[in-house]
């Protein structure tokens, strides 16, 4: 059964002091509903990673449905760390495929600016192993720093090699009016940016932001002109930060991409663009290798070429990725999906790539222990 994406909407990634978590979720949902035309969803699914831990609204989907005026919708709130958005879309697809519902609204929303930076990083850390890692002061950022250090020493590279990951994202984000940091990043800025944990600097990390993105999924018709979900997979692997740091591999990302491509009947080379998880430049490099765009240790070498630019052979992060558009953790997977849909519809404006036919979208949770991939076309 085909699943159509009948409408999409996002809010600008920013620090939205005037709006709360529920407000931005409803705002994005409203845009997606307007984009889809006259539809009334049977179910509402909301992806959010941090709201409960930050003392914000819990059971968010129920309150979003209420805010939209739906009194009889089935609601689910999905919390899978930074894979929440992808997991919510897969759950919505399952509800439609099972025949339970025809139309489902999926919203990803996150409100980070109400928390001070150290509190925000603490709450983000709860997605790691709470007993062995988070309670010993480890965070996704520190894990990224350790991974980066091991990557550099294993493959005999200089830190500057990671610049190209950030450069590509910022180059694409510079024309995205919804990006929190819409500017190009030059080498000097990158090398001068303050160190957070050696060797990882501020410019290696995606900036946290407030943001929401939404999509209307519906049972597909044979003749639809809408973008459809062709394949998807949600896989998990060894939990914890140790394995990706020491092995420099993301088995869940590899398996998830392979399964989603198989279901779609597609090859990697059939993709016109990809949205991979770039919460930091280390995870971005491992993701490039995990899905098969580069051999182990060669992601940064390929990033130096023009291959991943909008005009390249495999554009990545076409709206700036999390690095330039901003990282709204629980909504990040939904942003990726919406941006890929805009590319495939030809509605990407200055960020439009040519001949966009199929896209692979992958989000990672708990430092790569979970991976959700969708193939769109």
């Amino acid at each position: 059964m085909k699943i159509e994406i009948a409408g999409v909407g996002t809010t600008k990634s920013a620090e939205k002091w005037e709006l709360g978590l529920l407000d931005i979720a409803i705002k994005a949902a409203g845009k997606a509903l307007k984009d889809a035309g006259s539809v009334t969803p049977d179910a509402v699914i909301v992806a959010n990673a941090l709201g409960g831990a930050l003392g914000d609204q819990q059971n968010l989907a129920l309150h979003v449905a209420g805010g939209l005026g739906y009194s009889h919708a089935e609601t689910y709130s999905v919390c899978c760390d930074e894979a929440s958005g992808g997991a919510a879309v897969r759950l919505a697809s399952a509800l439609i495929r099972s025949g339970m519902h025809d139309t489902v609204l999926v919203v990803g929303a996150e409100k980070t600016s109400d928390a001070l930076p150290d509190m925000l990083e603490t709450v983000r850390s709860a997605g790691l192993d709470a007993a062995r890692e988070a309670s010993f002061g480890f965070s996704p950022t520190i894990a990224g720093a350790l991974g980066m250090q091991h990557y550099l020493s294993t493959y005999h590279l200089d830190k500057e090699a990671f610049y190209h990951i950030a450069r590509i994202a910022h180059q694409h984000g510079s024309t995205n009016r919804n990006a929190i940091f819409p500017w190009a990043l030059d080498r000097k800025q990158y090398l001068k940016s303050p160190i957070v944990a050696t060797p990882l600097s501020v410019c290696d990390n995606a900036p946290p932001c407030d943001g929401a993105a939404a999509a209307i999924l519906k049972k597909g018709s044979v003749q639809t002109s809408n973008v459809c979900i062709l394949g998807s997979a949600n896989t998990s692997d060894r939990k914890g930060i140790v394995f990706p740091i020491t092995s420099l591999q993301l088995p869940a990302a590899t398996q998830s991409a392979t399964m989603a491509l198989k279901e779609a009947g597609s090859q990697l080379s059939d993709m016109s663009l990809m949205e991979l998880h770039d919460a930091n430049t280390f995870l971005a490099a491992l993701s490039i290798e995990a899905v098969g765009l580069a051999q182990p240790g060669k992601a940064l070498e390929r990033a130096q070429t023009d291959d991943f630019l909008l005009t390249g052979t495999m554009p990545l992060w076409t709206f700036g990725g999390h690095k330039s558009r901003g990282l709204a953790p629980g909504a990040s997977g939904m942003y990726q999906l919406v941006e890929a849909v805009l590319e495939l519809r030809g509605d990407a404006g200055e960020n439009q790539i040519t001949n966009a036919n199929k896209a692979l979208v992958q989000c990672l949770g708990s430092f790569g222990a979970q991976a959700v991939t969708h193939v769109l076309g």
């Binding site: 002061g137 250090q149 020493s153 140790v242």
Partner: protein
Amino acid sequence: MQIAKSWRRQPSNLRLEGTRCTGCGQLEFPTVIRCAQCGEIEFETYQFAGKGKVIVASTVYEATRDFGEHVPYCAAIIELEEGIHLATMITDVDPADVTVGMEVEMVTRRIAAQGDNGPILYAYKFAPQLQIL
């Protein structure tokens, strides 16, 4: 770090106790409830020797809440003699002097305090192995 949670984790945090699977002998740290290798649910307590070597290290300048007092500190992945990989802080040494392959041993240190009046968590860190002269 709530008091009960801290108390519950004392065997692993203070004595480096893990488990050995009675089915396949797999060592785990900290304790597990079911063996991921063979599915066994019976275990023996296994106390790790507390010696290992650094695989990778980083000097942390921006910490999570409750860890700001330690900045800058060394976060590392070490390999215990028994083969287990562990995320831990390296202490009693300048973070810049921590090197890959450095031999380290377990020490008990203050990890974090919950505010000015909350409980203090003591647990393992690792320090360079003392040389016997």
